[in-house]
């Protein structure tokens, strides 16, 4: 049964990818990218990787779609015709693809019990993490504790994405009187429903943030979900009122504070006599120390991801607003 579901999902994934290649309408392409992300999330669920599926659904299908739509509003909806011959690019793509396929020939067979991944690291985590870290959700143990340094790197990557976007675009605060009348102003149903569900989304984000130790979730997903709540607010009530709720300046401070919070946990554990990000030293009992450390660094990740996603959305949509005024 699982195999059948996998086959159907993979076939749909391949069809979506092919359709994306041949479509010229970029709006439809963005929508198909969302579908692609949801399909891969379903495949991850089928592989029992719920944390990854959650991230894929929240980031891939949720936030990226919104950000790509924001980009489309700036650049235009249709793909430009390419005048040059496409033979050389085709050749490059074919050769690269062939090399990649040749590379997969050496990979161990899929799902085989003797694969290297099942022999060294995974059994170690599965056997020892309940004693060493003591979290029911082992994915969080691996992500936040064993691989805490990698996760710090990922958080910094997210943060530097924000720096890049702000350096290129910047968030512009326009005079409120200049902002054109949005069609949504008269949209009573959307206003009521948005007011109803935004608190629920934020509550869910907090649940995902602090329940990540026990179930699927964590800082990345929670940050994205919380950002989605504010993006919904900005879309329905207009960018100026969103700016007055959460100002871009505040978000920039938050984004750097999250990374700082994460890194300072590492420095604090060094001050306590451990290594960088050695949570065992955070409390008298090593297990308690692990729990404190993981909760704090997940909070840092959540704050940074939330602030970065919302800032990038602000940057894009304030440019769109400026374009509309012209």
């Amino acid at each position: 049964m699982t195999l059948l579901i996998d086959l159907v999902l993979l076939a749909m994934l391949a069809l979506t990818a092919l359709r994306i290649i041949f479509l010229k309408d970029l709006f439809a392409v963005v929508m198909l990218f969302g579908i692609y992300s949801f399909l891969s999330a379903l495949i991850f669920v089928n592989l029992d990787a719920v944390d990854v599926a959650f991230t894929e659904a929240a980031v891939g299908a949720g936030i990226s779609t919104v950000l790509m739509l924001g980009t489309l509003a700036l650049t235009g909806r249709n793909e430009r015709e390419c005048e040059r011959s496409s033979l050389l690019p085709l050749l490059v793509v074919c050769v690269t693809g062939a090399v990649l396929i040749y590379g997969t020939l050496d990979m161990p067979p899929f799902g085989h019990a003797d694969n290297p991944v099942h022999e060294h690291v995974a059994p170690r985590y599965i056997q020892d993490s309940p004693q060493e870290v003591g979290l029911p959700n082992m994915v969080t143990s691996v992500l936040a504790s064993y691989r805490g340094f990698d996760t710090l790197g990922e958080t910094v990557v997210v943060f530097s994405a924000l720096i890049g976007v702000l350096a290129l675009l910047g968030v512009r605060r326009e005079d409120n009187s200049l902002t054109p009348e949005s069609g949504l102003k008269s949209h009573l149903v959307l206003h009521v429903v948005a007011k109803l569900i935004i608190p629920m989304i934020i509550l869910f984000a907090l649940y995902v943030q602090f329940h990540g130790d026990f179930g699927p979730g964590g800082g990345f997903q929670a940050g994205v979900i919380a950002a989605a709540a504010f993006i919904l607010y900005a879309l329905v009530f207009g960018l100026p009122s969103a700016f007055s709720v959460v100002s871009p300046k505040f978000l920039q401070v938050m984004a750097s504070l999250g990374v700082l919070l994460y890194a300072s946990v590492g420095l604090y554990s060094m001050a306590k006599g451990g290594q960088f990000l050695d949570y065992n030293k955070l409390a008298a009992n090593p297990i308690d120390g692990q729990h404190y450390g993981i909760i704090i660094i997940e909070l840092g990740v959540g704050i940074t991801v939330f602030a970065v996603m919302l800032s990038i959305f602000y940057a894009f949509s304030s440019q769109v607003a400026r374009l509309n005024i012209r």
Partner: protein, 109 residues
């Protein structure tokens, strides 16, 4: 338990039927508004029936509560999404099938 299983089976099958008919409508209906109507059937009725069927399959624990939350969320959001879609099409000046026929007839005269 057998009774619940039968009821949940009926609900699931009905949900699948409405989902399929919504998909058929999305492909076969002639214009945007009728298609939105078909798609919103999938969003609302089919999702409610399938979730209802799944609710009866749980052992009335935390999973039931989670499914109820999803149900409540879908009940609020999916009609709103359909409404917003149709309204923004209207706002953008898209005519319904009857109206566009009418305006074409007017132009011909």
């Amino acid at each position: 338990m057998l009774f619940l299983d039968i009821v949940s089976g009926i609900l699931l099958i009905a949900g699948v039927f409405f989902g399929l008919s919504g998909a058929m409508g999305l492909f076969r209906f002639p214009d945007f508004y009728t298609r939105v109507h078909a798609a919103s059937v999938t969003d609302s009725v089919a999702a409610i029936l399938i979730l209802g069927g799944l609710l009866l399959q749980t052992s009335f624990d935390l999973n039931t509560a989670k499914l109820l939350f999803i149900l409540a969320f879908l009940l609020i959001t999916s009609p709103t999404a359909s409404h917003a879609l149709a309204k923004s099409a209207r706002h953008g000046g898209l005519l319904t099938l009857a109206e566009s026929k009418h305006s074409k007839a007017g132009q011909a005269e």
